[in-house]
Symmetry: C2
Subunit: 329 residues, 2 copies
DNA sequence: CTGTTAGCGCGTTCAA
DNA sequence: TTGAACGCGCTAACAG
């Protein structure tokens, strides 16, 4: 393994000079810089990030915290997009990413997690699908010891940035469009899980729409479950003229129920994932760019690690008409 | 951050003594060991893995190389299982895992990748779904510079272990069962991608069965694509009395084609993933424990890093009857 | 502008 | 059985 020492030797300069060139320090002459760069190229030298981390103490490793508990295919797909977006961007920004599943830190206190992260030189954290009930991670965020980015949770402080689409508005938009298409008045709204931040936000958007348009609305908790949504639709859809769901998966469940009952109701979903469920109908949904959101989350965590203050970042969304199912290749 | 020095201070011993306790060296008195352990617990000390890696040079970080190029839901699901299995086991064995997508090393030569890994203190590599055409990674494996574990590829050398089910036998088993159930004679076999090792192995199993049972068989490349399989089935299934597919996804495609043609043929698949495709029929498939395979891969990479020789590890599989679709929750 | 020096936290000889 | 001392590869003062 070629080290900085060899580079220094070949270039005929001191080790620290090489280090300065590497890290873009200003006070280096053109000539020296060229010599060093030549040696680096010639030896095919790559700085040892481990040593760099140890020495500088400010090398940023970022922990990605994913919760694969809720095992559904849709989630898998979203997580892969999150992972891809984060890893690509991290490589671009020269950050190292540590993937952590919540099962690995289950049962630990915030202090223990803090100690663990510190021992791993982790100084940034990205949290996906944080539950409202998760006291430990909430505490970790409030501690402000790490640069935190929360995806889809409205938490902001000096060291915490929130990244995500405007769920309130998105739910409003997609429902409005669906309702307008068919002039509906009686809404069945199948909401997500009680412990999710987005559930609350989406519900708020739906309520606003109902108020504005003077709609009658029945709200049930579908817990993001296809089966639950199916049962809710079986029970309540008959007397309604539109079914608005807080996720695509639930929309599929609702659609299947409608087909089973042999009645037609417009349905809309949320997420814009590529589902495999065959329905043969079209529906409106909110499309999110999970890759882009995660990519942005990494940018934001870097920004926090550079000392800037936390903030809220709203990512764009779009309303699209999807057909189930488009054959996937 | 609490360091080894503080532990040593509190325990009233030298730093090196603490280190020895930590790493399980033999020549430490009970008394000293207890003192040190007490101090560790009291201070809530966690060794700094970065420093440890730098110092020992043999600390094993393991790179997980995933290729998400082929974006299908099924693949996402499998990858998540791979990731979960690997990360859980790595935490158990105290290894650090670095997740790497092939896009991040695309265009690099084997030497460049080697340099990159060395600079990251990576000494073990797990390769998933390696393509037969991937000269660079093959070269990396042959170089034997890293402890390699390949999942689902039959590559073994002094520093390389192969982990996976016996695809040849699994394909043989599942097809045999399917054929026996319906006494079929004319087989349409929809194979995977030409560049996949498993494609070759599964085909071999199928050929063996055809030979043994004196079946007539037509083989087409479905490339693991639902659409391709659908088209193949539309074209050839009519004159056959069974459709054997090298993946569940293709089996779904074939089934849809059969439904469209309004003919019945037994179908079997491969993988045992939880599909969302609605078919309403049952079929045999091979169930693999992706989590367990990946978990085992980590164990094997650790074994290699400990100096043991590469070998072949056959993981168990089972033949199950699946119903499409079981509603997922 | 460049080189010397002192660590970062830990593993590992080698004396004692 | 223990501890002092050195070094892993690198960064960051400081001195020149």
């Amino acid at each position: 393994m070629v080290s900085i020492k060899e580079v220094a030797g070949k270039a005929g300069v001191a080790i620290s000079t090489v280090s300065k060139v590497l890290n873009g320090y200003p006070n280096i002459s053109e000539e020296t810089r060229n010599k060093v760069n030549a040696a680096i190229k010639e030896l095919n030298y790559i700085p040892n990030s481990i040593a760099s981390a140890l020495s500088s103490k400010q090398f940023g490793r970022v922990a990605l915290i994913l919760d694969p508990k809720r095992q559904t295919q849709a989630i898998d797909q979203i997580f892969m997009q999150y992972l891809l977006g984060a890893l690509d961007k991290a490589r671009e920004l020269n950050l190292e990413v540590v993937t952590i599943f919540t099962s690995m830190i289950a049962g630990m206190t915030a202090e223990e997690i803090t100690g663990y992260f510190l021992s791993q030189s982790i100084s940034g954290v990205v949290l996906y699908s944080l539950s409202k009930e998760d006291r430990v991670l909430q505490h970790l965020i409030r501690g402000q010891r790490f640069a935190c980015v929360v995806v889809d949770a409205p938490l902001v402080n000096e060291r915490t940035t929130a990244v995500g689409i405007d769920h309130e508005r998105a739910q409003y938009d997609v429902a409005k469009k669906t309702i307008a298409d068919d002039k509906c008045r009686q809404v069945l709204y199948i909401a997500g899980r009680r412990d999710g931040y987005v559930t609350e936000q989406r519900l708020r958007g739906m309520k606003r729409l109902a108020e504005e348009q003077d709609l009658s609305m029945l709200v049930r908790q579908g817990n993001f479950s296809e089966l639950a949504a199916r049962n809710i639709a079986l029970k309540y859809a008959k007397n309604k003229d539109v079914v608005v769901c807080a996720s695509d998966l639930m929309a599929i469940g609702a659609m299947n129920a409608l087909i089973e009952m042999d009645i037609f109701r417009p349905v809309c979903g949320f997420d814009g994932i590529t589902l495999m469920g065959y329905v043969g109908k079209q529906m409106n949904t909110v499309r999110q760019d999970f890759y882009g959101i995660s990519s942005r989350a990494i940018e934001e965590v870097k920004r926090l690690m550079d000392g800037e203050a936390g903030r809220q970042v709203i990512m764009p969304h779009s309303i699209v008409k999807m057909y189930y199912k488009d054959i996937i290749c």
